[in-house]
Amino acid sequence: MSARLTRDNVAKVADLARLNLSEAELERYTEQLGAVLDHAEDVASLDLDGVPPTAHPLPLVNVLRDDVVVEGVDRDEVLSQAPSVEDRRFRVPAILGEEP
C-alpha cells in the first residue's frame, strides 16, 4: 500500500503538528519521511490478524493507588517558569475570534 507520501500530505501533517515549514523543508521532509515509510512497508504489509499488541513486558493492568491526598508541586514555583502569567494563571494570546 505504498501510497507514496506527497508534498500535500506533509503540509497537512505539519499543520496538525503545529509546525510552520518552509517550501524547502516540505520538499526535504517529503523525501526523507517517504524513505522511512518505505522501509516500514515490511511491517505494514505483514498479516498480523489475531496477534495482540504489546506495550509492557509484564502483565501490569489497572495500576491503582490509595485515594489519599498528597502534596503536589508548588503552584508559585510552577508559575514562575511560565512565559506569561496573570492572576496566578497561565496567560495566552487570543483564542476566541480566531479563523475557524
Binding site: 503545529r18 526523507q32 515490511d42 498480523l48 504489546t54 509492557h56 513486558p57 509484564l58 514555583e77 517558569q81
Partner: protein, 484 residues
C-alpha cells in the same frame, strides 16, 4: 596523577571510612572537567555550587558518625532530560532553554539519598532523538577516545563524561539504544534495565512505552552498584514494577559455569562490520572458556525491529511533545492568536530531527493510518517477544554486537536519516520486548576504537546478565587493542 580512586565502589568505601573526603573527590573531578570539557562538551551545565554543597553535606555526615550511603561522595553526571528541581533541564533543546523544573526525578532523589554528588547535566541529542549527539541544540559532544568522532547517542554526554574521567558513573536514558550504543562507542559499560525496573518519574518523555533510565560506568561492578541504588517500585510511575530489587553486586562473582548463551544469527551477518563481529565471536569464546555453553540462535522477528521502532517511537514522541506549546514552560514566540503562538514557538524551538520525528509520528497516528502503522507496529512487538521467549527456552542469555560499527566521524550520517537509524539495529529489539540488555567494552576494532558487545536477558534477568558481564570484563582485551 592523583590519589583519588577511579571507581565509584572504591570512592564510596574510602569516603564512608573517612579516609577520603567527598570534597577532595569533587575538587579532583571538577579540575578534570575544567581542563578538558571545553573540548569534549559532555556537559550542558556543571553544577559546581550544588555539588560543593552536596559534598560538604556528605563530609558532615561522616564527621557526625553517620553513613551517607552506598554512593557516598561519588560524583555522578545526569543526562539533561532528568528533572532537577531549580536547576536548568534542557533536553538539549532551545524550547526548554532556561527552564527550571519544580521537582526532582525519582532517580535524582534516589542517588542523592544514597550519598552521590550530582556534578552536572550532560549533553544529548535533542529530546534523546539521535545516535551521535549531533542533534543537540548546544553543539555535539566529542568522543574522548578520538575527538574527531562522535560519542554515540543519544546519551553521548553521559557516556563521554565517564570515558573522560569527569565522573565515575552517570545516568542516561535508553529508548532504542541510547545508553548501550554510546557506551560501546566510548568504551564504557552501559545498562538498559527491564522496562519498569527504574521509575521514569521526572524523565522527560520521548517514547513512553520504550524509555528506561540506566547507568554508565567504567566497571561492571559500578553499574551494578548504581542500578541497585535507582531500581525499585515507585508509585509515581504507573508502569513501575513492584518487585524486589535484584542483588546485582552479589551475583558478580558467580561466573557463567553451565550458563547457556546464544549468539543471535540475525545480528551477526549483513550490516555488521567484520571487526565488530569478530570481537563478538571472541567474547563468545571467552564465555565458553569460563564454562558457558555457547550456541547459535535465531530471533527472526528482530528483522522487523527497526521498522516497528521507527513507527512506535515517533508516534509516541509526537504525542509527548505536543506539550511544548509555549503556554506552561520553556520558550514562547509571541503571535496574535494562541494557535499561531503555538506554531511559531514550536517552529523556532525544535531542531530538525525532532521536527522530522514529530512529522513522522503525526502521520503514523493520523486518520486512516493508525491501524496500518502504529497498530501493526505494536503487534510486531508481540512477535519479537514470542521469538525471544523461544530463544530463552534454550538459552539463559543472548550475545550480539551493541553497535554495527565503532564510532564514526562527525557528519558521516547526518545527511541520510535512515543510515543513522540503522545504527540502532542491534539495540532496538530489547526495547520493543521490554527486556534488559547491557554493553560491555571488548577490545578495539580495526581502527583502534572501542567495540562493545551486548548481553541480553529475559525480563528481570539482570542478575544473570551481570554475571556474564563480569566474566567478559575480566577477559576483555585492552580498549585500544587494534583488531587485525
Amino acid at each position: 596523577m592523583s590519589a583519588i580512586p577511579s571507581t565509584a565502589l572504591e570512592i564510596a568505601a574510602a569516603v564512608r571510612s573517612g579516609s577520603l573526603s567527598a570534597r577532595e573527590v569533587l575538587d579532583d573531578h571538577l579540575a578534570r572537567i575544567d581542563a578538558q570539557d571545553g573540548e569534549i562538551n559532555a556537559f550542558n551545565l556543571v553544577m559546581t555550587d550544588e555539588a560543593r554543597a552536596a559534598a560538604a553535606a556528605v563530609d558532615a555526615r561522616v564527621a557526625a558518625g553517620e553513613d551517607p550511603g552506598p554512593l557516598a561522595g561519588v560524583p555522578l553526571a545526569l543526562k539533561d532530560n532528568l528533572c532537577t528541581r531549580g536547576i536548568p533541564t534542557t533536553c538539549s533543546s532551545r524550547i526548554l532553554e532556561g527552564w527550571r523544573p519544580p521537582y526532582d526525578a525519582t532517580v535524582v532523589q534516589r542517588v542523592n539519598a544514597a550519598g552521590a554528588v550530582s556534578i552536572g547535566k550532560t549533553n544529548l541529542d535533542e529530546f534523546a532523538m539521535g545516535s551521535s549527539t549531533e542533534n543537540s541544540a548546544f553543539g555535539p559532544t566529542r568522543n574522548p577516545r578520538d575527538t574527531g568522532r562522535v560519542p554515540g547517542g543519544s546519551s553521548g554526554g553521559s557516556a563521554a563524561a565517564v570515558a573522560a574521567g569527569f565522573a565515575p558513573i552517570s545516568l542516561g536514558s535508553d529508548t532504542g539504544g541510547s545508553i548501550r550504543q554510546p557506551a560501546a562507542l566510548c568504551g564504557v559499560v552501559g545498562v538498559k534495565p527491564t522496562y519498569g525496573m527504574v521509575s521514569r518519574y521526572g524523565l522527560i518523555a520521548f517514547a513512553s512505552s520504550l524509555d528506561q533510565i540506566g547507568p554508565f560506568s567504567t566497571t561492571v561492578a559500578d553499574s551494578a552498584l548504581l542500578l541497585e541504588a535507582i531500581a525499585g517500585h515507585d508509585g509515581r510511575d504507573s508502569t513501575s514494577i513492584d518487585a524486589p530489587v535484584p542483588s546485582l553486586l552479589e551475583s558478580l562473582g558467580q561466573g557463567v559455569d553451565g550458563l547457556r548463551v546464544g549468539l543471535v544469527t540475525e545480528l551477526m551477518g549483513e550490516g555488521i562490520a567484520p571487526d565488530v563481529a569478530a570481537r563478538v565471536r571472541q567474547a563468545a569464546d571467552a564465555l565458553t572458556a569460563a564454562g558457558a555453553q555457547v550456541g547459535e540462535v535465531s530471533v527472526p522477528a528482530a528483522a522487523y525491529g527497526l521498522s516497528a521502532y521507527y513507527l512506535i517511537a515517533p508516534a509516541e514522541a509526537s504525542s509527548n511533545l505536543a506539550r511544548y506549546d509555549g503556554v506552561r514552560y520553556g520558550m514562547r514566540v509571541d503571535a496574535p492568536t494562541t494557535a499561531e503562538m503555538n506554531a511559531a514557538t514550536r517552529t523556532a524551538g525544535f531542531g530538525e530531527e525532532v521536527k522530522r520525528r514529530i512529522m513522522l509520528g503525526t502521520y503514523a497516528l493520523s486518520a486512516g493510518y493508525y491501524d496500518a502503522y502504529y497498530g501493526k507496529a505494536l503487534k510486531v512487538r508481540t512477535l519479537i517477544v514470542r521469538d525471544f521467549e523461544k530463544a530463552y527456552a534454550d538459552f539463559d542469555l543472548l550475545l550480539t554486537p551493541t553497535s554495527p560499527t565503532t564510532a564514526f566521524k562527525f557528519g558521516d550520517k547526518t545527511a541520510d536519516p535512515l543510515s543513522m537509524y540503522l545504527n540502532d539495529i542491534c539495540t532496538i529489539p530489547t526495547n520493543l520486548a521490554g527486556h534488559p540488555a547491557m554493553s560491555v567494552p571488548f577490545g578495539g576494532g580495526s581502527d583502534g576504537m572501542p567495540v562493545g558487545v551486548q548481553l541480553l536477558a529475559p525480563a528481570l534477568g539482570e542478575s544473570t546478565m551481570f554475571r556474564a558481564a563480569a566474566v567478559l570484563e575480566a577477559a576483555a582485551p585492552a580498549l585500544d587493542e587494534v583488531w587485525s
